[in-house]
């Protein structure tokens, strides 16, 4: 409980005694490139294959001849938009971005770089962490949009190449019973996940005490705690927004 309390106090420090706006603009841009552009490849790769696997596995399990084949595309679409693209992508990003944030801040802590900022009178948590949080909240949704598109495309390519569904059936399935709120739901979830991953990882890194061993532990804790926070928040948001 004390760690949760100290996490919320840490969040408070991000927004108090901030530096000038112009200081943050360049930092946010750099972080957007690092977090966003730097994660495109892994997110694209994982989601393309996840879409492909979802399509082939759904087809494999759909043995009833009375169920139309375009249902495969509908299942790929809905599972991608509602769950796979936002949640799985954010878990992948927790591994990549979260460990990076914790490692970077942890190293800065043990090499006294954070102390150097503090003695200059700079709010180190706000200066170092706020740009990462803002960049994550901006870039995660863009990555998830790309992930959703590629996952559905992966399903299309795998399904048609494997011969489990025709291109026409796939497209008709994608259009069948489409609810636009699903996309809003996915983006709301992503923004929440982005905030959780960036702040939890920053908290872990920022509060490292010790040496290289502790920085490694902080990176591991950042990923595991972020993943736990993601699945818990996923359940809560699903309950609140979809029931």
């Amino acid at each position: 409980m004390s760690r949760i309390g100290s996490y919320f106090i840490f969040l408070g420090t991000l927004f108090r005694n901030r530096e000038k706006l112009r200081v943050y603009l360049g930092l946010i841009l750099n972080e957007c490139v690092s977090i966003g552009v730097g994660s495109i490849f892994i997110v694209a790769l994982v989601n393309t294959f996840i879409g492909a696997v979802t399509c082939v596995q759904t087809a494999y399990n759909l043995t009833n001849p009375f169920v139309p084949r375009n249902i495969i595309a509908l299942i790929v679409r809905d599972s991608t938009i509602l769950e796979l693209a936002p949640t799985l992508s954010c878990i992948v990003l927790a591994g990549k971005v979260g460990s990076n944030i914790a490692g970077e801040l942890g190293t800065m802590r043990i090499t006294e770089q954070i102390d150097a900022l503090e003695v200059m009178g700079i709010n180190s948590s706000s200066y170092l962490v706020l740009p990462k949080v803002i960049a994550s909240v901006l870039m995660f949704p863009l990555l998830v949009i790309m992930a959703g598109f590629l996952s559905i495309l992966g399903g299309y390519i795998a399904g048609t190449l494997a011969g489990v569904i025709s291109p026409e059936e796939y497209v008709s399935g994608l259009r069948f019973e489409y609810k636009p709120f699903g996309v809003s739901f996915a983006l709301i979830k992503t923004v929440v996940f982005a905030f959780l991953v960036s702040t939890i990882s920053a908290y872990q890194g920022f509060n490292v005490r010790g040496g290289a061993l502790e920085v490694g532990s902080a990176s591991t804790s950042a990923v595991t705690n972020s993943c736990i926070a993601i699945v818990v928040a996923d359940f809560v948001l699903t309950q609140v927004l979809l029931t």
């Binding site: 200081v23 190293t107 006294e112 770089q113 102390d115 503090e118 003695v119 200059m120 009178g121 700079i122």
Partner: protein, 248 residues
Amino acid sequence: MIEIKNITKTFTDRQVLAGIDGTFRPGDTSLIIGGSGTGKSVLLKCMIGLITPDSGEVLYDGRNFLTSNIDEQKTIRREMGVLFQGSALFDSKTVLENVRFPLDMLTEQSAAEKNERALECLQRVGLEGAGDRMPSEISGGMKKRVGIARAIVLNPKYLFCDEPNSGLDPLTSIKIDQLIKEITDEYRITTVVITHDMNSMMEIGEKIMFLYKGNKLWEGNSDTLTQSDVAELNEFIYANKLLRETAR
């Protein structure tokens, strides 16, 4: 002038500082000496506000740092320059960007003025050609000099150096000591140096405070250092075989 009064600090059940008093005057290079784990670095961190002491006062020209509000503390902090033990240079910035960083963050000067000042400080520490290099590309001694350049870039009134010689060869150590002394004299800065380097004590110790197990056991200067009758201080000083031989 910096005054510290009755500084105490305890971590869990271990008292690290037991009521330390002291005065550090402008233009003096004051040394805080002692063995490892005697509380030197904790005292320094209490003075620069990285650790809050359990009790006591830290006065910067009469301004109580510990009871000041955030804005007043920021003002005092901006009058400080700190050279950290590991130099604490920002890995992602070049040497010039590191030195210019306090100017970027805390002043409204033009880019040209900031660059000029940063280059001037690099020149002062003898690193005029190293501005474009990354911290990972320079030696430990050069890092210390960059750290000093960054510490003086805002013309500080107070300069703190935490073990400036750690990890350096004797010759580079002497150069760093001389640089700190020259800068202190040149700008009449109040300089506080944490060290356990005997050469530093003899060369630049205008005022020396000896800490032992969190207590101040002795205060003097480099001339009186070897004439003390404090057993713990003598044990500390004459741990070095060469000095023992010389003393005989």
